[in-house]
């Protein structure tokens, strides 16, 4: 491999890792909900993208930071909506029912987006889209760095929420031992709802950041991001937030690496095989969540 190729390889990896922040953000939401409720919310990525779409309503009057904020808030609203419609009233001993209800929600949200926009891609306000940093022979995209920074901030915020607040304590308690938590007087339903809202806030941010990184929003994004989010959740370890972060970056970088080495048609095959390798050799994921005793 010539030096140029080697530099290209490093650059590709860098690009991939930075883009992987978007995957990490979606993965965190999936893993958070799974860690607390032990249920999969397949509509999460769709809700995140949906929140970004909804935030476009203020795009013509507000600067981009406000648009991102609106996306995050709307994400929280959608999260609460998903909780109430898909989870709240379904019996807990029927996990398949919630699986299907979230599938129904995913289809509904995707169709709503397609209906409202006639399927056409919409421009999303990008932050620092023209900014490029030249670090030696490498080029770092300013907007991806911003997404990366924002993602890190969100993760730190989440960590502080989970460890330093009562709500965070309740969330972790319900995740580990729902029966005991209830006996301690914690409102399980309320905690679950707030988990969804928090995950939704993160999801809205993720949707906005994805839109900002790509520059356009399209309904084509929902299904691939759902799959990537699930892959990241599993590789990172179910229920582990730091795991989701690292897994997101890993998947982003690996994707670009495989593309560089084997081309775009085979790229995803190798990403999936990497997932299989994890499942065979490290089924708990990178950081297995602390197990409860129930």
């Amino acid at each position: 491999m010539s030096l140029l190729d080697f530099l290209d390889l490093i650059q590709t990896l860098l690009d991939g890792v930075m883009f992987g922040t978007t995957y990490a953000l979606i993965g965190i939401g999936f893993t958070l909900i799974f860690g607390v409720m032990h249920k999969i919310n397949l509509s999460y990525a769709a809700a995140s993208i949906g929140a970004a779409y909804l935030s476009l309503m203020v795009a013509s009057v507000a600067p981009s930071p406000i648009v991102y904020l609106v996306a995050a808030l709307l994400g929280g609203v959608l999260g609460a909506l998903v909780y109430f419609v898909c989870f709240r009233f379904l019996p807990l001993d029927k996990p398949l029912a919630t699986l299907m209800s979230t599938v129904g929600m995913l289809l509904l949200m995707e169709e709503a987006i397609v209906h409202a926009t006639a399927g056409m891609p919409l421009n999303y306000p990008a932050a620092f889209s023209g900014v490029v940093f030249d670090v030696g022979p490498f080029m770092l995209r300013g907007d991806l760095l911003f997404v990366f920074a924002l993602g890190c901030a969100a993760m730190v915020g989440l960590k502080m929420l989970l460890e330093k607040t009562r709500l965070g304590l309740a969330t972790r308690a319900v995740a580990q031992q729902p029966v005991a938590a209830r006996l301690c007087g914690m409102g399980v339903d309320r905690t679950n709802a707030s988990t969804f809202v928090i995950a939704g806030l993160l999801g809205g941010t993720a949707g906005a950041m994805t839109g900002a990184a790509i520059g356009v929003l399209s309904p084509l994004l929902t299904l691939p991001f759902t799959v990537k989010g699930l892959v990241v959740t599993v590789i990172g370890g179910l229920g582990s937030v730091p795991g989701a972060i690292i897994a997101g970056l890993l998947v982003g970088g690996a994707e670009n690496l495989f593309q560089f080495l084997r081309g775009v048609s085979e790229r995803d095959i190798y990403v999936m095989l990497m997932l299989f390798a994890f499942l065979v050799f490290r089924p708990g994921g990178l950081f297995a969540a602390p197990g409860g005793r129930d």
Partner: protein
């Protein structure tokens, strides 16, 4: 006296009723042209546009008196559009549903090439072949453009541009008018049948015209990150970049090219991307891209058609321009073949319609006369458009 007048009145009654019924029938005689295509899903704009264009065309025909049927009666044309959601099974179901109606003798559609291939596959291959149990129903396609599909069945006819002709002409023109452009780098959306197939066509003609295709970058239709591909492009340092992809990824690639400062001397795009979607997504980055197309509002008929469709809330582009043309062509064929459009004549009508479609030597298009090939495909007049300041302007009209 009274009894005579009463009897005469009674005698007149059946005559009066027959007359009334006759005129009523003549007034409300309706000929239905069915259509099917994608009205849901990511490509739903195609179906919505096609339906609007067909309805506008039908309205114009009806205003001018309608279509004359085989028995001399005038009828108005009604359009019924079924949604196939761009999936093979639903496309087949939609066609079967249409074929089971006793007022259906032709259908326009489908939108998606991946629906057209299975749908043409279930048709009878050779008309009159008793050993072939395929469906016997004529289809006149408006949008699905993957090359060579009409040759699959003698019941399939298409009014879609020949991308082979268009790109050959385009590259010949570029060679003639821009001698400083010698090398090409390609970009292709691999997992969509249309863009994949057309890229091979583009590449073939570019090479035949004397350009050197230095390489190609590939991506998938839902990809979001193109840094690797555009970096290859940058290293390639080609004079011309040709992109065979739909608006979503085309815009993604163009934006990345802007980021990495890749500024080729010329850019060429895929026919389907000469639409509003591209300009809405990345007008600034698409500035200067040249795309061959079979529609632009450059002739009086084209302008009138575009306005008529605009009045129904849709835009006219090369795809639904074909749908518009199809309705007018079908009107001519109905009259020429003397279609009766009665439930008892429906089998014969389908036969007649197929033969009429097969015997077409040329049809009237919005940009001029459209030739027909042996393979039931169309030879459409075309021109090259360029994206300029957020609109498509005519770059060149080949003769």
């Amino acid at each position: 006296m009274k009894s005579i007048s009463l009897r005469s009145a009674l005698a007149l009654l059946p005559v009066a009723t027959a007359l009334l019924a006759g005129t009523a029938q003549a007034q409300t005689r309706e000929v239905k042209i069915y259509a099917f295509g994608a009205k849901s899903g990511v490509v739903r704009i195609f179906g919505l546009n096609s339906e609007a264009a067909m309805k506008a065309a039908a309205a114009q025909i009806n205003k001018a008196g309608g279509v004359t049927l085989g028995d001399g009666a005038k009828a108005r044309i009604a359009i019924e559009y079924l949604d196939d959601r761009c999936t093979a099974e639903e496309g087949i179901n939609a066609l079967r549903r249409i074929a089971s109606q006793n007022d259906a003798f032709v259908a326009v559609g489908p939108t998606c090439s991946n629906v057209a291939e299975p749908v043409f596959g279930i048709l009878q291959k050779k008309a009159g072949d008793a050993s072939d149990s395929g469906l016997q129903f004529p289809i006149y396609t408006d949008v699905a453009a993957k090359g060579g599909l009409a040759s699959m069945s003698q019941w399939a006819f298409r009014n879609v541009p020949s991308e082979s002709n268009m790109y050959k002409s385009l590259f010949d023109w570029i060679k003639a008018t821009r001698p400083e452009v010698k090398t090409i780098w390609g970009g292709v959306e691999k997992d969509f049948a249309h863009s994949n197939a057309t890229f091979n066509v583009m590449k073939g003609h570019a090479e035949k015209a004397g350009f050197e295709v230095k390489g190609q970058s590939e991506w998938l239709l839902a990809d979001t990150s193109f840094s690797t591909q555009v970096r290859e492009m940058r290293r390639g340092e080609a004079d011309l970049v040709m992109i065979s992809a739909h608006p979503f990824t085309t815009c993604g690639v163009l934006k990345e090219m802007q980021r990495q400062n890749v500024k080729p001397k010329m850019m060429v795009g895929l026919t389907s991307s000469s639409s509003m979607e591209t300009l809405q997504g990345c007008a600034a980055q698409a500035e200067g891209i040249i795309i061959p197309t079979s529609f632009a509002p450059v002739t009086p008929e084209a302008k009138r058609a575009a306005d008529a469709v605009q009045a129904l809330g849709a835009n006219m582009d090369l795809h639904n321009a074909a749908a518009w043309e199809n309705i007018f062509t079908l009107k001519d064929l109905i009259e020429r073949a003397k279609i009766m459009a009665k439930p008892e004549t429906v089998q014969a009508d389908r036969q007649k319609m197929r033969e009429a479609l097969a015997s077409m030597k040329e049809t009237q298009g919005l940009l001029g006369k459209v030739g027909r090939t042996e393979d039931r495909e169309a030879i459409k007049p075309f021109l090259f458009v360029r994206a300029q300041k957020g609109a498509w302007t005519v770059a060149h009209t080949p003769n």
